[in-house]
Symmetry: C2
Subunit: 349 residues, 2 copies
């Protein structure tokens, strides 16, 4: 049996963000998110010819990264299925031989690649798999916990759930509230330095892992929980529902990409249209109220980057009319109006 990590992750900065030759932006959210939230720790990015993603930081070869004192190479992509192309393994092995840690959030373990295992054996660097969950998570008890919880849910994967949760945590803290971002995915865990990779736990324990992630807390404390997937996603809905039940959210925020019309990247000819905002709200609310009858939505967080500037305010206004909730693009507007709604709706924070 392999020795698995029980401790929270501790990463060594500065980082080189590895994008390889990834094409779709939606699959590069790990690297892009890390640059967005911890830019000061990111020395540069590594991109192969054909790469369709740009984090907007210095281009850097493995050589240059070594010379610049980079201590960790972060695999910045998360393709469906979690494969690691052979050409990437070669680059990562080169970095590992120079003593840089390799950090991955993919399902496949870095140590399973003999070239990487040999490289770290030589250099003493570490292979860090963010996605290895803690062992011995229990079955969810469904017991009510003290403290308050807000969960970001979505109309799809990669619609801004992590960003929204991080922005809400930041805004709550700026108001002097006690608040913690609770990470459930690889990028979030890299940013937070701890968390549970919820999509990697054994299926029976999804809700139990969510219970562990946001333990009982002071009555006025808020856990701001990063959602995963979508209840309407034919590949990942089980993860989303287990996380929703185990989180027992008091408040929910719906995240949506305004330019998305169908479920992203199924690797399938089958087209799954997105559900409407209100259909998504109704489905999530029904499931949330099973474990917390007082659960309610407090806002909609929209990625409007795919819209023309001229149409943006009209689209957001229509969303407000449809849902009756404050609707913001957290990158443009900030999450203030959502946190205002939380402040109005709950007697204590």
């Amino acid at each position: 049996m392999s020795q698995e990590k029980l401790d929270p992750v501790h990463l060594q900065a500065p980082y080189l963000i590895y994008f390889g030759d990834v094409v779709e932006l939606g699959f590069a959210k790990t690297g892009l998110g890390l640059i967005q939230w911890r830019k000061e720790l990111c020395a540069g990015q590594f991109r192969l010819p054909g790469c369709g993603v740009d984090g907007g930081i210095a281009e850097m070869s493995i050589d240059a990264a070594h010379a610049a004192g980079v201590r960790s190479v972060i695999v910045g992509v998360a393709p469906a299925g979690g494969a690691l192309p052979a050409s990437w393994v070669k680059d990562l092995a080169e970095a590992a031989r120079r003593g840089m840690d390799i950090v991955s959030g993919l399902h496949v373990r870095l140590s399973e690649f003999s070239e990487l295992a040999a490289a770290v054996a030589e250099s003493g660097a570490q292979l860090i798999d963010i996605r290895v969950p803690p062992r011995r998570i229990g079955v969810a008890t469904g017991e009510k916990r003290s403290g308050r919880r807000v969960l970001a849910v979505g109309t799809d994967c990669a619609v801004g759930k992590k960003y929204t949760a991080l922005a809400i945590e930041k805004e709550m803290r700026s108001r002097g509230w006690s608040a913690d971002f609770r990470a459930t995915g690889q990028t979030g865990i890299m940013i937070a330095g701890s968390g549970v990779p919820i999509d990697s736990v054994i299926a029976d324990f999804i809700s139990g892992a969510a219970e562990l992630l946001s333990p009982a807390a002071a009555d006025d404390h808020w856990d701001v929980i990063e959602g995963q997937g979508a209840l309407s996603h034919p590949s990942y809905a089980g993860v989303s529902l287990g996380l929703l039940h185990g989180s027992q959210p008091d408040a929910l925020v719906l995240c949506h990409d305004a330019s998305r019309t169908r479920i992203l990247g199924l690797g399938s000819d089958q087209i799954y249209p997105l559900l409407s905002l209100n259909e998504t709200i109704r489905g999530n609310l029904e499931a949330a109220q099973r474990v917390n009858p007082l659960a309610r939505f407090v806002g909609v967080s929209v990625n409007s980057s795919g819209l023309e500037t001229s149409e943006r305010s009209g689209v957001l206004r229509r969303y407000e009319e449809e849902t009756g909730l404050p609707v913001v693009d957290p990158i443009i507007d900030g999450p203030h109006r959502i946190v205002d709604r939380i402040e109005q709706e709950f007697e204590f924070h």
Copy 2:
């Protein structure tokens, strides 16, 4: 990395069914189900003082089982959380030392108990963990597959989903249809000799595992899929939803225990009442139609053993009025009326 089994399970009969000192009937469904469906393979049962369960077969000590030529001891219980009490380990090690295989569907691996590992090293017997899933299951594609599928879903765990699926498979075959029971839990896999332990796969791959379990088939073939958990169960709903999406059922059968008023055995002071039959139907149908717009319910399968004989027909009639579906107790009435409904509803079998 431990060597994991990729092959379907092959168990050696005859069996001794081990119940230990389990008290609640609902937790003994593995052993009781095996006795129900493969009684001819079960030589006897082993029960400790205080055991609240009786499979109705010969009581047998480890000594007597050895003398009777028993080849496998089946751990017949599945307590929430999957622990294995120390006193049971002692009994099982005694059996393993005598050369009997030990078969378990618990989450904890038999080989993790040094006493058991030592016993089989001495005798050459096998430790068989039914719950170890195949490796390298992929993410669900959501692609439509040929063939027909019927899935048993429930108002709770342990309400007869496996029994119902087995009874429907048997009835379909007796009518000359092409039909296969598809097992998703430990008992089902023991009975069928193959299957995927759906609650043991990595959360991201639940629906992918369900797609593997019932592959594309001839247009007139029926896969009869064993459901797990319940969409309304605060511990296991993620498994249920992932299985539902990946199964893409054409037909659904609702399973219910007429004497159950709340979710079983949460190990919690929190009471979760069962949802009504129609609420359960609505929730499952909505999720099923996300992947198969033509999905429909074809019957309700009721465990009425907790009812007085005098009230049974009245309760089942009320369920029929509530749901508009054929309602049967498959043990008393058989599943014929549900299979009749399938025959009416679908142009080909």
